[in-house]
Amino acid sequence: MVLYALRRIPSALVVLFLASVAIFAVLHLAPGNPAVVLAGPDADSVTIAAITHQLGLDRPLPVQYAIWLRGILTGQLGQSYVLGAPIASLIGRGLGNTAQLTGAAVLLAVGLGFAAGTIGATTRSRVVRAAVVTFTTISFAVPTFISGVLLVLVFAVWLRVLPPGGHASLVTDPLGGLRFLILPAVCLALPASAVIARFLQTSLSAVLEDEYIRTARAKGLPAARTLLRHALPNALPPVVTVLGIQIGQLLGGAVIVEAIFAWPGLGQLILQSFVSRDYLVVQDLVLLAVTVFIVFQTLTDIAHAALDPRIRLGS
C-alpha cells in the first residue's frame, strides 16, 4: 500500500511541473504586463521601459521562470508586482476569507436544502409543496448578482439590520464577523440549496414508496423514526454526489459574491491580479489550485487502492 502511494508521487510531480510551465507561458503570452498597468494610461514608452526593467520583466522568460520556480521551492513567493505586498500574506488572507465564506455557504446550503427537500417529499399539503417548489425554483433561477443586490437592498438599505458588505475577523470580533458573513453566505448558498433540495425531494419521494418503508409504517414505527432511520439514509447517495459538485461551484460563484459584498477573498484577488497582469500572484494562485487538485486526485487514487486490492495489485 505504501509502495503504491509512493509510486503516485513522481507522476504527480511531473504533472505539477508541466502545469507550472503552462501557467507561466500562458500568462506571459497574454498581451500587456504589470509595468504597463503601473505606468498608467498617460505614460510614455520610456517610463514603461524603466518600470519593466525595475520589475525584472525584461529578463529572458526562462530566467524569469527559474526565479519563480526557485521562489516556490524555497517558500519565498515574493512580492506582488502591482500591490507591492508579500504574496504569501495576500494568498493566506484571501484563502482564509474564501474558506470562511464557502464553509458557511456549504453549511447553509445543506441545512436549507435538506429542510426544503424533506418537507417537499413528506408533506401532503399542496400549499406547502408549492411553497417548496417556488423557493427552489427562484433560488436556482435567480443569479447571484441579482439576489445579492436584492439582499443588500432589503436587509442593509431598507431594514438596516445587516451590513451591505465588508468583512470582520471571526476570531477577534465573532459577532461582528458573523454579521458581515450572513448576507454573502446566504446569497452564495441559495442556488446550491435549491439543487440539493430538488435531488433530495426526488430521491426521498422514491424511497418513501419502497415496500420496506410501508412495512416500517405497518409495524407502527413512528413517522420521524421511519424517515430519519430508514428513508433518509437510503435517499442520500445521489444527494452526496451532487453536493460534491456544488461545493466546487460554490468556490467558483464566490468570485461574484465577493465582489458584490466587498468580501476580500481569493476570487477578488485572482480577478484583480489577472486584470493588472500581476504575474506572480496569478501564477502562485493557479499553481495552488492545480496542486490542491493533484493532491486530491492522488488521495482519491490511494483511497480507491485501499478499498480495492485489484487496483494496487494491478498497477
Partner: protein, 512 residues
C-alpha cells in the same frame, strides 16, 4: 537676483482660496465650533497602489493627500499656487532659477524634521522614469539643486517652464529614509495630517490622526478608514446603508439618483480632470486624412454622451481645457458640435464617403462601452461602419503606449485642469514627440514647446492659442465630454477638500 515673485497669498488670493475651500467641502461650513474626534469611513472601488504614489494614478488620491503634503497647492479658480510646505518662493526674471523658503516646524511621522534635503530627494526621485510620474519631463528640467540650510532650496532649470508649480502641486514629500518600505506598501511616512496604520490589500486602509501635525489644532478627526468596495452598486449600497460616510467616484448616474435625498449630499468636483475623447490612429487609412478626423468629430453627438452616460454631470466640448484653464475659449469649446451633414460633406470632400474601421475600448474603463455605443451609432449615420474591439486594461494601455490601436478608440485623459503645458507635455495622447495617434507635426511641436517655455501670462496665452488651433484642426484627439470626480456622503461629514488632482484633504474635516 531680480525677483518677480510670489511671497504667499495676497488678500485677494486669500479670499479666492476661502471661496475655493467652501466649494470643495461637502455641505455648508459648520457654524459652531468644529467637532473633534471620530473615525470617518470612506470607500472607493479600486484598491490603493502604494508603489504608484509617484505616478498620478487615481486609486491613490484617497490616501496620498492625507498622509503626505505637497510644496504648494493651487487655488482651484485662479491656478495661483498657495503655500504648503513651501512658505514662499522667488522665481528669477528669466524663469530659470527658483528659490523656495520652507517651513521650519514640520516633522515627518517618524519624528525626523523636514528639511531642504527632502525636497532635493523628492525632485530627483520624480526624475527617475521607474517612478512612473507623468510630471517627469518637468522634473527633469531641474538640472541643479542646492540647499542653503534646512529651510531653503534653490532649483536651477535648463530652460524656463510654465508648469513648474504643477510639479509642486502633485509631488508628495515623502520620507527619504523609508522609501523601500513605501514602495512595498509596508509603511508610508509623510508629514500629513494622518499616519499610516494598516493596509489589508483588497479590503481596507487605516489611518490615524497625526498628533504632531504642523497645522495648529488639526486635524479634527481621530482617523480615517478607507474601504475597498470593488463594485459600484455595492459602493452605493454601503452609502445608502450609512455604513460609510463618503463614497468616492460613484458612477454619475448613481450620484444623480441621490439628488433630492436629504440623507445625502453630493459634490461634483470643480477640477474637471477627466476628459473622455475619441482618438484616431493617423497611421490607419483613411484616418490619416485630416478631413476624415474632422468628420468623425462632427459626427459625434457629445450632448447625448453627456446626458445618457454621465447624467448631465460635466460639459460637452471639443477642447481638453476646462473653463478655469488659461487656454479655454468658449468658441473653441463649441467648435465641433453634432452636425452629421457637415460630417458627410467632409467625408465626401476627402473621397471617403463610406468606410469601415475599428473602435477600440478599454473594458476596465466603466463608461467606455456606453460611449462607444453612441459613437458607433453616430458614425454609422454618416457612413462610417465601426467594429467595436474590447481590450482589457493591460492590453489597451500597451497598445495605446505603442501607438498600436487599430483605428479609432474611446479613452479618457487627465491634466487639462492643470497648466496647459502639462497636458501637452505629460499626457501621452497629446505628446508632440510621440503620442498614441502617431501624429507628428512641426507646427504642433513648436507650439507645445512655446507653451511649455513661456515666461509670462501673455506669451503663454498666445502659445496656448496655437496649441488649441492645431488640436482643433487636426483632431487626432477629439475631446467629447469633460467630467470631474464625484463625492457623495452624509451631511454629518463636512468641510473636506481636494487638490487639482483629487488628492483628498481632511485637515479641516469634521464628523458631526
Amino acid at each position: 537676483m531680480a525677483s518677480v515673485a510670489h511671497h504667499g497669498p495676497t488678500r485677494a488670493e486669500m479670499l479666492a482660496m476661502l471661496g475655493g475651500a467652501a466649494l470643495a467641502g461637502l455641505g455648508a461650513p459648520a457654524s459652531a465650533a468644529p467637532k473633534r474626534g471620530g473615525v470617518v469611513q470612506i470607500a472607493q472601488v479600486p484598491d490603493v497602489i502604494p508603489s504608484g504614489l509617484f505616478g498620478q494614478n487615481f486609486p491613490n488620491g484617497a490616501i496620498g493627500g492625507l498622509i503626505y503634503n505637497t510644496l504648494t497647492a493651487y487655488d482651484h479658480r485662479t491656478l495661483a499656487p498657495r503655500p504648503q510646505l513651501a512658505k514662499s518662493w522667488d522665481v528669477s526674471r528669466d524663469g530659470t532659477t527658483v528659490t523656495m523658503q520652507l517651513r521650519s516646524d514640520v516633522k515627518f511621522h517618524s519624528g525626523r524634521p523636514f528639511t531642504s534635503d527632502d525636497v532635493v530627494f523628492c525632485i530627483k526621485n520624480m526624475q527617475d522614469p521607474a517612478r512612473g510620474s507623468q510630471l517627469r519631463s518637468t522634473a527633469s528640467v531641474v538640472t541643479d539643486l542646492s540647499t542653503a540650510g534646512p529651510g531653503e532650496v534653490k532649483l536651477r532649470l535648463a530652460h524656463p517652464v510654465s508648469n513648474l508649480f504643477d510639479l509642486f502641486e502633485l509631488m508628495f514629500i515623502v520620507d527619504r529614509e523609508s522609501l523601500p518600505d513605501m514602495l512595498a506598501g509596508k509603511s508610508l511616512i509623510g508629514t500629513g495630517a494622518f499616519t499610516w496604520k494598516q493596509w489589508n490589500p483588497g479590503d481596507s486602509v487605516t489611518l490615524a490622526r497625526n498628533p504632531a501635525y504642523w497645522k495648529p489644532n488639526r486635524p479634527y478627526l481621530d482617523g480615517v478608514e478607507l474601504r475597498i468596495i470593488p463594485q459600484t452598486q455595492a459602493l452605493l449600497a454601503a452609502l445608502q446603508a450609512q455604513q460609510i460616510q463618503l463614497a468616492l467616484g460613484l458612477a454619475p448616474k448613481d450620484v444623480v439618483s441621490l439628488h433630492g435625498n436629504k440623507a445625502f449630499e453630493t459634490v461634483v468636483g470643480d477640477t474637471h480632470d477627466a476628459a473622455f475623447y475619441v482618438g484616431s490612429n493617423v497611421n490607419v487609412k483613411p484616418l490619416d486624412r485630416r478631413e476624415v478626423r474632422q468628420a468623425v468629430s462632427f459626427a459625434i453627438d457629445r450632448e447625448r454622451i453627456l446626458k445618457d452616460v454621465f447624467g448631465g454631470l460635466g460639459a460637452a466640448q471639443s477642447v481638453p481645457w476646462p473653463q478655469s484653464s488659461p487656454a479655454y475659449d468658449a468658441g473653441d469649446a463649441r467648435r465641433y458640435h453634432f452636425d452629421p451633414d457637415r460630417a458627410k460633406q467632409l467625408l465626401k470632400a476627402s473621397g471617403n464617403e463610406k468606410f469601415e474601421t475599428s473602435l477600440a475600448i478599454n473594458s476596465g474603463l466603466a463608461p467606455a462601452s456606453a460611449i462607444a455605443q453612441i459613437v458607433e451609432f453616430n458614425l454609422q449615420q454618416v457612413g462610417i461602419t465601426t467594429t467595436t474591439v474590447s481590450f482589457d486594461a493591460a492590453q489597451f494601455i500597451k497598445r495605446l503606449a505603442g501607438g498600436d490601436l487599430p483605428g479609432l478608440w474611446v479613452n479618457v485623459h487627465g491634466f487639462g485642469q492643470m497648466h496647459p503645458a502639462t497636458l501637452v507635455v505629460s499626457a501621452f495622447p497629446f505628446n508632440a514627440a510621440k503620442n498614441a495617434s502617431n501624429f507628428r507635426d512641426p507646427r504642433y511641436s513648436a507650439a507645445v514647446n512655446e507653451a511649455w517655455t513661456a515666461t509670462n501670462d501673455r506669451a503663454e496665452r498666445a502659445a496656448c492659442r496655437k496649441v488649441t488651433g492645431v488640436l482643433l484642426e487636426e483632431q487626432f484627439v477629439a475631446d467629447c465630454v469633460l467630467t470631474s470626480g464625484t463625492y457623495a456622503g452624509v451631511p454629518a461629514f463636512r468641510d473636506f477638500s481636494y487638490n487639482m488632482y483629487d488628492y483628498l484633504n481632511f485637515d479641516d474635516a469634521t464628523l458631526g
